[in-house]
Every structure is written in C-alpha cells, then in structure tokens.
Amino acid sequence: MERIGKQTIKFNTPPTILETSSIVGPKEGQGPLAKYFDQCLEDEFWGEKTWEKAESKIIRENVNTLIFKSGIPADKIDYCFAGDLLNQCISTNFGLRDLNIPFFGIFGACSTFVEGLCIGSVFIEGGGATNVLCATSSHFCSAEKQFRFPLELGNQRTPTAQWTVTGSGAALLTKNGTGPYITHITPGRIVDMGIKDANNMGAAMAPAALDTLIAHFQDTGRKPSYYDLIITGDLGYIGKDILTDLAKTKGYNIKSNYNDCGVLIFNKDEQDTHSGGSGCACIATTFSGYLFKELKNRKINKILLMATGALMNATSSQQGESIPGIAHAIAIEN
C-alpha cells in the first residue's frame, strides 16, 4: 500500500469484500430497500426485555449470518472491528462477547462502518490478517432513549430531524478474492462548523463530508464522474442538499451521481421520517443489503462510499457544545 496525497491510502493488492449481511427493524422492512435485506424483524424487541439487549441480539445474529453466508469458519477470521452508538459500545461488546474472534471496539458515531472497513483493509494489506470482519448496529429506540427523550413523550419532531435506523450491517474482507475491491481509503478529519442543533445532524456533518470528498479527489486525481455512484451515510435530505451545493461552490459537480443512504432507506412521504435515516446501521445496512448486491451484479462498478458521523453526546449538547462531524471515504471497484 502507499500513501498518496494528503490523506489517502492506495492499496496495491486491494482486499476484496467477500460477503455482507444485514438485519433491519420493521420500519426499514417497510421501506423501499426491504427486499435487499437478509432479514426484516417483526418487532423492535425481537423477544428481548430491553432495547439494548435487542440491539445486541441484532448485531450478534447478523454476524452469525455473515459467517454462515461467507462459508469462512469463525476460527479463520483473524480480527473483528465493530462498534455502535450506545455508551461504551455496549450493544457490540455484549452482542459479540461469545464470538471468540480477536476484537477491536471502534467508535466513529455513524461513520463506524466505514471506519472499520478502512482499518480492516489496512490490516489485510499490511499482512496482518487474511480475513477481517467489520460490523455495526444501531437501534431507534435505544438511541432515542440515550440521546433524546423517552419514546412515550408526546413531543413533535422537527422537519430537520432524522430517524435512527434499527438494524445491523456487516462485511467480511478477505485478502485473496475476486472483488469488489477496496482500492483506496480516505480517512477524514474532524470538521466543526458550529452547528449546535442536534435535530439537524445533516447540516452538522455536511462540511466534514465535503472536506473528505475534496481530499479524496485531490489525492487520487479523480473526478466525480469517475464513480458510478458517490454515496454518503446519513446526511439525509437536508445534508444531501447542502453537500451537493457546497461541492458545487468548490468546483465539483456531484449532482448526477450522488445519493445518500438516509435518503434511500426510507420513503419520506409515507413513513414520516422527516429528513431521512441516520445511525450506524443506516450506511451499514444500505451497503450490505443494497449496494453490495448491485456491485456483485455489476449494475454499478465504481462507488465512493463515504460514512458520516456526528461526534457528540447528550452531555456535550446540554453543555452548549457544537457538533463536530467526520466522514471517512472508501473507493470500492470491481
């Protein structure tokens, strides 16, 4: 692998994404991408007593599904990179405690999935691993409970608010495969443009997405049109609009081949999800369910997958801090 430009790494023997799997909640199961997911749950508890236990079960079962689908036994998987939104990543830590694979807990808020893919592919390329597992989860109810208000509280959601995706996405990376390959990674910098409204995450994260996007194009010398699809994690309708706009002011026209997972995963008008989906599982399930299949079927061949994260918690919001954003990009090509 080699470093190109300011912050991009180019892989000489790029790792393959061998297999993915996804489990989503009932609301996502009624959304436009329903048919692509491995499993759509009937209810948010999934037979568990608490939201947190339900989220742990979702990531555990999803990782088991991935191992089963990939045909690679768990003892051949060298490392696991996973994380979620709950304090100290408890749903991942508890969900994967019986996995018996060396484990790194990672936190990048909603950018965790691509953060995992970045580190995992460097591990493989560097010779430290042959097979690496990356997974994340989020759950609407546990996230609301931790970040916002009790579910039974009779409050109104603002039009800029986003809906945390319930579910888990996981991917298995391998050294010797036939693609789709992770060819470049562009880890992002923390960017904070002073947005304080926790109900407008898209606007808070869009500048970070722009920063990474520009870095990627400058480092690789590629143009937006190189990709069949440029896709961000959870900017939602407002963030998508802002990023398209900001990219244009910087001289990059991404209007025709850019979309956002938070926009794709729900039907805005029918499902009343306001500005769209969010959460770790937003990009993780959309990629694992929908985009990976499109890559496999060669309907799309080159995508720039860019996960965005809002690096805040309830305490920082109460203390009046603004919301730092981050975005990590990876180029996936057949």
Binding site: E44, L151, E152, N155, Q156, T158
Partner: protein, 128 residues
C-alpha cells in the same frame, strides 16, 4: 339533565378560547425558538408563578376558569397563591409549605400514576 342546565356555556367557550390561545403561545415558542419541551414547561410554570404572585393571574381564572387553571401557567399560579395564603395564615414558614401544599394533589397523582403505569405498560416504538 339538571347538571347540563347548570353549565355556564359562555364560560365554557371562554375557557376553550383562552386555554387554546395559551397553547398557541407555547406552540410558537416550540417552532420558532428550538426550546426543548422541558424548557417550555419550566418557562410556563415560572411565568405562571410570577403572575400568580403579582395577583394578576386570578383575573384570568375568573374570566376563563379551567382555560387558565389547566395549562401549566395555572399550576405555577397555584403554587404562588398557596405560598402567599399560607404566609398569611402562619407567617414566614408558610412560604415553604404553601406552594407544595396547594399543588400536592397533582404532584402526588402524577407520581402515583407514573409508578402504576411503569408496572403495567411496556415501552413501545412510536409510529411517526
């Protein structure tokens, strides 16, 4: 039907309008200021207590009945009224007793029903 005849329909109408208007003020605050619901409730109860303490709020209650007492402004005014009355009865100590005493029924009911609800109900996702 004797009860229906005892209803003061004009008072009921004033109650509806005043109660509704107080809520509209709250709605404008929600939509225009991004204040959380907890802050809006605090604002209303504090303003209510001040208006009650100044002796202004009782005129609104006379005019609109439950339209003034049911919104949280009325809860605040009631706290202040209780404190003042108790001070008049037993002196300075009343300042610490009167408010909670006047609101005791509501507070105890909310705590009790809240506890009962937690025994019976299960959290559910909102379908919105």
């Amino acid at each position: 039907m004797e009860f229906l005849q005892s209803i003061d329909w004009m008072l009921l109408l004033r109650c509806f309008i005043v109660g509704g208007l107080i809520c509209v003020v709250g709605q404008i605050l929600i939509d225009k200021t991004k204040l959380t619901s907890a802050r809006i409730l605090v604002l209303f109860v504090t303003i209510g207590a001040i208006l009650g303490g100044l002796g202004i709020y009782k005129y609104l209650i006379e005019f609109a009945g439950a339209g003034a007492t049911v919104p949280l402004l009325g809860f605040g005014a009631n706290l202040a009224k209780g404190a003042i009355q108790e001070v008049q009865n037993i002196g300075l100590l009343g300042a610490f007793i009167g408010g909670v005493k006047a609101a005791a029924g509501g507070i105890a009911a909310a705590i009790f029903f809240g506890y009962i609800a937690s025994l019976l109900a299960k959290p559910k996702i909102k379908k919105q």
